[in-house]
Subunit: 452 residues, 2 copies
């Protein structure tokens, strides 16, 4: 059985390994235009920060390891076409094209950084995006010579790079084109997050919101500054564009595979595409939101792993259903943790719910413990059914604990009432007698007019 996998960062690499484990005789071939396979892209900001020094630590499994396991790995291979009629793909490696037959094809082409059209974007050295291993190596190398760095975009990657540069003593300007950084969160939660950063011990950075970058400016080939529409100019020895990602799906589209939301590849619970014997997984694939049942595109590494596994199982005939995602995510910036799962209030409204919310600002541990620190937790529920819809938290480490506790509640479709007496672990170094989660539930209970 010929199983061909296009792309092998997270989903593709996982799929390849899983196929080979389930079906040792399968002829598994990986084709990727990347120079590396099976790596932790999410770890790049921490590599740049210097949390560890060898980028090889980001590699989960090397091409050699795959090959030793009987998997063919083709790096820097350009897949030109998928030909479903004949069940082949057309690949060019070293400028030679060849047809490669498949019985099952797994598309894991991922996503690429979105590059907005900004004047001068292609004119200077020092303008980067962060996605691949090389990006991380190049940014880290250049960082050594930088006094000023501009980050364009205040989402997860922008925020994580802010920490990386600031911790390396480089003055960093983060420019965001909307009113709130971390705009996936509800606005008041983003604002609390921002305020925590701006009142932290680190002072060598500035965040500008509602600013549109209009031009990169430089001398000869070197970037010197970043200009915005409002007329501001920020000195920059390097600029990183963190303006989101777009799914790599033109190959699928050209092959007549049905696309879904945001031009992702539409898949069912078995990770099957609209075309027989073709699966898709990871950042290029559409996902289903467990709370709404609606298609979404929330490309995250943890999801990619699960989808890769599931696609592999179904490709070899072992039944596996992937139920979907909650949009759970966490990030760290300058000792602040931000985490979320499920729907925000704004998403809940958009999805047709009648949300009620409880926002509590509480200590994460009993206040007499020296390490106790303030945390803001927002829980969203539906007024009509009482069902929990989501949670967001900003604070010290431990904010993510509260959010993870809600993930299971969302999977279990728990109501506020059912959650309200949840027996959470308690001890002074870990929580308050009545955990902030339970404080939030009490408020929500009152808002649903249930005495729980």
């Amino acid at each position: 059985m010929d199983i061909v996998i296009i792309g092998a960062v997270a989903a593709g690499a996982k799929a390849a390994a899983k196929v080979k484990r389930l079906l040792p005789d399968a002829n598994v071939k990986i084709y990727t235009n990347d120079t590396h396979v099976s790596y932790s892209s999410c770890g790049l900001p921490y590599f740049i920060e210097g949390n560890f020094s060898d980028y090889k630590m980001l590699l989960v499994r090397s091409p050699e390891e795959f090959r030793a396991g009987g998997i063919s790995v083709n790096l820097e291979a350009n897949v030109e076409k998928i030909l479903p009629e004949t069940k082949n793909i057309l690949v060019s490696v070293d400028n030679k094209s060849e047809l490669v037959k498949y019985d099952k094809l797994i598309i894991a082409t991922g996503a690429s950084p979105f590059k907005p059209e900004i004047a001068g974007i292609n004119d200077y050295d020092g303008i980067f995006t962060l996605r691949k291993i090389e990006d991380g190596i190049n940014i880290k190398e250049r960082m050594q010579y930088c006094k000023n760095i501009v980050i364009i975009g205040g989402g997860y990657i922008g925020i994580e790079l802010l920490e990386a540069f600031v911790r390396n003593g480089i003055y960093t300007t983060l420019i965001h084109n909307h009113e709130h950084i971390m705009s996936v969160y509800d606005p008041e939660i983003s604002d609390i997050f921002r305020k925590r950063l701006e009142t932290s011990n680190e002072t060598n950075f500035a965040i500008y919101t509602n600013e549109i970058v209009s031009e990169f400016s430089g001398k000869y080939s070197e970037l010197k500054s970043v200009k915005t529409l409002s007329g501001k100019e920020f000195p920059a020895d390097m600029a990183i564009i963190c303006a989101g990602v777009v799914p790599n799906t033109s190959l699928a589209k050209d092959a007549g595979i049905e696309l879904g939301i945001h031009n992702t590849i539409r898949v069912n619970k078995l990770m099957r595409t609209s075309v027989e014997d073709i699966y898709a997984c990871g950042d290029c694939a559409e996902k289903t939101h467990i709370v709404t049942g609606q298609p979404v595109w929330i490309p995250l590494g943890s999801t990619a792993n699960k989808e890769g596994r599931c696609a592999a199982m179904n490709a070899v005939g072992v039944h596996c259903e992937f139920e979907g995602v909650l949009g759970s995510a966490v990030t760290r910036c300058l000792n602040t943790t931000a985490a979320m799962t499920g729907l925000t209030e704004k998403e809940a409204i958009k999805a047709g719910f009648t949300p009620i919310t409880a926002t509590v600002k509480k200590y994460d541990k009993v206040p007499y413990m020296p390490e106790a620190s303030e945390m803001t937790l927002k829980v969203v529920a539906d007024k009509i059914t009482g069902l929990l819809l989501g949670a967001q938290a900003v604070g010290p480490v431990g904010a993510d604990k509260r959010v993870n506790t809600i993930t299971s509640a969302l999977i279990g479709h728990l109501t506020v009432d059912e959650f309200s007496n949840n027996d959470l672990t308690y001890s002074p170094p870990y929580s308050t007698t009545i955990d902030p989660l339970l404080n939030a539930m009490q408020i929500l209970c009152q808002k649903t007019a249930k005495h729980c």
Copy 2:
């Protein structure tokens, strides 16, 4: 309306405050034989350790605050009898007895340390139990002059005091009468916990298991050593007996109130006892285990708070049901966190389940992060139904996160299959791409022969 509350540490204090909030005109009277009300008993080990220096930080609400809110607080009051026929209690304060009328009575008499019959136990200064504020103050004061301390009992309080003494530079011997300390956990998990303590940076302590303390020995009134049945003798300037607690229910029993498991007061979901207009809550009351539906006695402060609130609501006619407990708990000792929820494997067998288990030893964060640390997680499920039954974790902070995530799964009666693709938050400083919880679920899925 006369609402009388006996006992006011956690459950009673919470009940008093809640009654007054719901029914401001109620005549609320607290009677307690304690010298303090409304305090965090769980914080005493951390006060002794020196995490904070003023014991008053443990007081949630002072008698004066209660009184300012219109609640009568009677300290050092000895309730001699409950007289359900006439709806009175007989109280003696300052050697004067009086009858106090109640419309609703809430019993929150708590539990007392169990004191085993050991030769010399009443003969020397320096032998303590830890339960009340005074105990904490006295132990902390004496600790200043101690070179050697013996702790008798390796449960939560014993373990927490071990840290407290060791961190104060005092050589500490912990003697436990069974094979495994922290015996509420499954034995192999207790052993991992013990090993982590014994391989920590702290060396000025020793743990002895399978040793029965037989004698306290001293000179004049001063304790000098603790002897065991096997003939060992440990020098001791102080000994703390941490041999569990017994519920304070003789008052209830004498009044004809039905008792339950371990001589606790039997209550229904409304926290009502068998006698009309009498409620019980907190450590003196029986609980229902949510996983088994069976009565249990797991006396914990977080539960006491919830029960106190629920008893108060029902006492004033606002419906509230307390569903029960999961036995969730967490503790810290010498940088190790141990946490659990639901059933252990041995409890699952006892409860009639056919448990399957997955024990994973994994990093809590991606291994390239410098703060990544090994964690052991054991998840228990039922082979027949696939239902999750419980989890135990030992490791760094973050072990409690995994356990809390399972609490909601237990409340929601999730199966291994349903949990297996839970969308947990992921980022390198917080977790691995596939969280240890999900690794455990994959193993359990295989054991239930479901491909999930």
